[in-house]
Point group: D2
Chain length 425, copies 4
């Protein structure tokens, strides 16, 4: 397999994606470029826009002005405007299908969105040094540029192989906001899938290490709490206000202080907060965008109930109202033993794989779990594969980067695993 992989093309694609990062539901340019590549490779079917997912099952979709601003950014580049138009209103992502006769139906899911954060300008940061640093107000700080690239690489490898059956590559939008998985799961596109692969690069595994089956997905809930009080002049009438920032700060302090749980790992984060308008006005508005996670669905529920209690009473303590909305949720999931074994065997055949782990924990959350559950509920098998890569900064930080040789390793391991799949009786 490996001799047929065009490593330079992979690196080129990855850098192109890296240079134009687009956050969740704004993957306009990214989707168009993916579709163009699929066309180049030659596929039997392409599914995009409203056909890809159940529009109303999407979560955490930004407002129209925000979407339009990113769509406009994409339009400025030299792209297929008709295709772009099909993606409007945040209907991003694509699915490429190869139909190669009798045989199992196999799917590979990769995610393609970036994070709304600034990228490092440090000279030690390779994308900055080599000129492919982000040109938008976002950053591929979690390696989804590599995921999209590996998805295309596997597609090309399978297209050029003697694979028999049906192969679908799902380029999923909006993973970072846990927003796209459910909408694709509900589309029915995976209902006939016998084997599902998902993957992630990095995760503190070095280049050359492969994890055949990642587990310990944390169930997650993203929430937004909006506090509303009443403003007043902070000098003349401080007592006349109902201070939404005091409510928010009290909530933040107590959210992080939710008791740990004997049954396993939990998480809490108030990741984006704000409030008030001017130094001399008692703040009437404030908000917290945050998340809770749990090693099991029950642990996530525990955190979620405690968080709601904190938010409600922090508001009431300061005579404010609060409305709490759930923006996204994803369950936990497990990789299937049988499929893990096949990936392990495939990895064993790849020379550049220098370390093979059967199992490792994710310790984070992923909405791939919606797809895994859907396939498993219908009798199919699923695994979530880890492709190691040396990354200087941690995931989601300004200096995250991908060690590019891992791109080929990912393509190689997954293609070989797919070609090793047994027929389904």
């Amino acid at each position: 397999m490996s001799e047929t992989i065009d490593h330079d093309r992979l690196v080129g694609l990855r850098r192109e994606f890296h240079r134009h990062p687009e956050p969740a539901w704004r993957e306009f340019y990214t989707t168009v470029r993916i579709v163009e590549e699929c066309r180049r490779i030659g596929v039997d079917r392409l599914v995009v826009g409203p056909d890809l997912l159940v529009t109303e099952s999407r979560t955490a979709v930004p407002d129209d002005a925000d979407l339009e601003a990113w769509l406009e950014r994409a339009r400025q580049r030299d792209v297929d405007l008709a295709l772009l138009d099909r993606l409007r209103d945040g209907q991003t992502g694509a699915m490429a299908v190869l139909e190669r006769g009798e045989g199992p139906t196999v799917a590979l899911r990769v995610d393609i969105d970036a994070l709304p954060r600034e990228e490092s300008t440090d000279d030690e940061h390779l994308p900055a040094a080599e000129g492919f640093r982000a040109e938008t107000p976002a950053m591929h700080a979690c390696g989804h540029d590599a995921h999209a690239t590996i998805g295309l690489g596997v597609l090309e490898a399978i297209a050029n192989s003697d694979f028999r059956g049906t192969f679908k590559v799902v380029f999923q939008p909006a993973e970072e906001v846990v927003g796209g998985g459910r909408a694709i799961a509900k589309s029915g596109h995976l209902d006939d899938v016998d084997y599902l692969f998902a993957l992630h690069i990095g995760l503190d595994h070095p280049t050359g290490e492969v994890v055949a089956g990642i587990g310990d997905f944390l169930a997650v809930r993203h929430f937004r709490a909006d506090f509303r009080g009443e403003s007043a002049h902070a000098g003349a009438n401080p007592q006349a206000g109902r201070n939404a920032v005091q409510a928010m700060a009290t909530a933040v302090q107590n959210l992080y202080a939710i008791p740990r749980h004997e049954d396993g790992a939990t998480r809490i984060n108030a990741g984006d907060v704000g409030g008030g308008s001017a130094t001399n006005i008692v703040p009437e508005d404030a908000y917290i965008e945050g998340e809770v996670r749990g090693e099991t669905d029950a642990l996530m529920e525990y955190m979620s109930e405690k968080a709601d209690r904190v938010l409600e009473h922090a508001a009431a303590m300061h005579d404010c109202e609060v409305s709490i909305a759930t923006h996204a949720e994803a369950p936990s999931a497990e990789s299937d033993e049988a499929l893990v074994d096949i990936v392990a065997e495939a990895a064993d055949d790849v020379e550049s794989v220098t370390s093979l782990l059967e199992r490792a924990p994710l310790g984070g959350s992923e909405d791939a779990t919606f797809l895994m559950q859907r396939v498993q509920e219908r009798g199919g098998l699923a695994t979530y594969v880890g492709i190691g890569t040396d990354h200087p900064g941690g995931h989601h930080t300004a200096t995250f980067d991908v060690d590019e040789p891992s791109l080929s390793i990912g393509v190689d391991v997954l293609s070989r695993a797919i070609l090793r799949l047994p027929p389904v009786e």
Copy 2:
């Protein structure tokens, strides 16, 4: 006096200012309209742009992009573009001078900026009901539209009188951010002033009530604290972050909890806060824009030192750095008895003044105190006059409004006071 005041013109001007509110240092359109009115009235000298104030003594000046956006808004209206150009870089405000021979030098200071808040759309809110609600993302929620109008009204009244001496009306920018007073005080334009009047409308005094000398100005300091920690993936590596939002929330809680002081009133407000970027990233940045006040300079200093201590240790507790900047400061001040008496006598002559208070406290802060101190240090007298107005919502709230008959009262009282001033020997 009163028979010569054109009340309808005053109302028209005030509504025009109200419809186009501009926050501190962005009073581009407002300044141009003021200058146009001065020209109509006919003045001997006009001072604008770099000539008005000491550029480097301004505080809380917004960044270039922000200034440019507001300048562009002003350009869209039918205005004198050459004049507008002189105001660029946030050099707003104007001074009109009447030179009428021998006699005292008298100054009237009015402020002209709006607040960065949204105005009510409620039908009960007169500006909304009668179609002069704010058309910019700001609001005249503290009556500076009325102040600018009264300033022009007094200018016209004095221009048409037999006043002898020099009369200067200072249309000061950036009072709300305590940003303009010092820069004008340092300009020297007031160094020859014998009598200085400043004024404020409302302050919970009803229409028909006048306060001859307002006191109890709270000394104030506006600060900005920027917290910097380190980001991490909130699910996978929560311990790897240094959480700037936790630092900020701890600070907010403890800022408001600074002990009260036996020597008098103190104030604290965290009026504008924020932090973080995404639900699943441990926040690396956060900020607080806030203010402390004190009934005396010493009380303000007390609050300021305590606040710095809280900010520093809240940061260090969460392993974050913090930088604290002072954006603006204004001292306390007092109205002079002799001038208070003259205003009281003048008010006594005005029929529509139904209630006269010699003295009342402000209970807030004002950078007019810089001008008052400057004049008083050089042997002049100063007073800060309150012109009552029925206002439905409190100052700085979305439903603040001015009862328009108070405009004429303000013009009448101040004009009469100026004309009663004794010669200076």
Copy 3:
């Protein structure tokens, strides 16, 4: 007058009281010693025990075990046990009455309780250096030892004078917990009083300074909040607890952060808190004993309502219950001009008075206000006199002490004022 005051006796008495401080409602030894002195002086009537006050109107009375322990301490000293027995159950305090024919009814109220705090052992601290430091687990850190002494001194001076009328000296228990004033006011003993004097030593006024009429009494409410959650093993089942200490800490943070009020001074203190039982048990119990104050009754009410709101929601946030009890309350009050003038005239005659203030603020609370209100409601006059004393440490601190020459000054000023009172028609 002054030549007849036995200064050494005053100093001896004061040191005796100082050596045996007893907190609120435990003034067993103190009361017995006062009664013994009254007998020595010779009075017409003595009121003690259940006759002195309305038992059920007392507040903040300690539990039986606590009272018994202090009673036992008093029994160990060489005292009148029959008298001691009348005081049991915390019915402390006494009133001495001189009946000298026709004339006004005059009352002097002094308080006699100590504070539950440790006294300094520092050599610089005079009571430690000279051997009259507290021998009980309490301390006269607010000068009530001096008050009791001055009360006795004035009683003796009036007894030896040609005073005509009725003179009552009320030795009031439990001022520090705002616990005794109401119960004495309700007793009716003051209902016939024409002139009431109360006094305080120190208050940052130096020896030789006298304040004829102290005002600005802060209205006060003492409260106790008991939080109840549920315990759990902190290592094995942290989530199973409902943490009362977290509730308490959240409340403390937010109590101090109740917004300041434009109408005047407010106060808040969480003066005595606790919770939990062992490091490895999630705390199921916690409490706050605290107080709120306000320059007016309305400001105190404002603080009180805000405090209740904070306490309730801090509890609910951590799934705990809270019960809030009011232990004591006292209103605000004012000194009457006519009586202030008489004290001023009297002080003018006393050579050792080197500085005389007509008026000064207390800036604290006092349940003498119950007595003042009672007398004033029935047409009598009241004033609260300040007797300066150089005190090294502040009131309520471990190094507070009284400069003993001020004892004679207090006796002198008050006796002279009483003898100057006009007849009542």
Copy 4:
């Protein structure tokens, strides 16, 4: 084995211990009763008082007054006063030794202290209903009454068996404060031990269930933080204080909010807090007794460093000093496979064992780990055995109780395991 166990005697002993619970280092009566039982059984050697442990290695020893009060309680009962005297100064605990010729040296460690909490008086609570509720201000809320009983039962069973070798039963004091383990480990009494057994009853395992090797001991550190500020009158001079209760509350809030860690379980508890002295004094003192735990020593260190940082900056924020002392620490540990197997085989032979787990996590901390480490470092083997018991309330709660049939099960399983031990070559 089982036929020879006198179940009624075990129940009687356990209820006797339960009725007289004594907290850490105060196990005076408990130790005497244990020694009396050992004498009845007949042992070759008894080690008590200063001979048992390294006095200076004890941690969390209470002060003299506290020890004396408990010693006095023990004296009131009908006990061997000479023996009691050897235990004074908190030198509690005992070791019984059987010397039966050639063979392995085997040790069993049981802990004997109670918790400083009140026991339920509810009729549903068996000790209350059947009259053996605690008669001291403490409670056997963690089953150490059962541990002492099982220790004696195993001692008697081995004494009556054909066991060859040396058998030591260590009745360890002060486990709950992590205070005794290190001092016994350092004594050298276990340095020749080939096989060490420790045990715990309950832990949410039902009666009939046995865990052959418990693991996942959380490393733990108990700390005490003393905050010192400065007092002031809360009404008159609130700003003059340095508020230790505000510092403490800020610390509590932020201690619980220390970020979770990706590497595993962590714990934090502020189990016993307090501060201040009176409602009207700004609190000058406050304290936190708390603990941090971690699944590994490194995780405990992580928590410990973060906790210190929080404590220091919470103090500094409020201008207070803080001193932090470590009262106790215990490491993590593991049970040895070979010994786990022997326990499992023994349990298999006991009819009343209805469920056998090879391994289960503790999820808490234990200073048995000091003994386990000591034995393991010298080449011996150790295991920590769980004996299930139906317990109505959780460990450390007011309604904890032991299902008494589990006493015999514990004796049976451990005796059989000891008799199955292979000779040491």
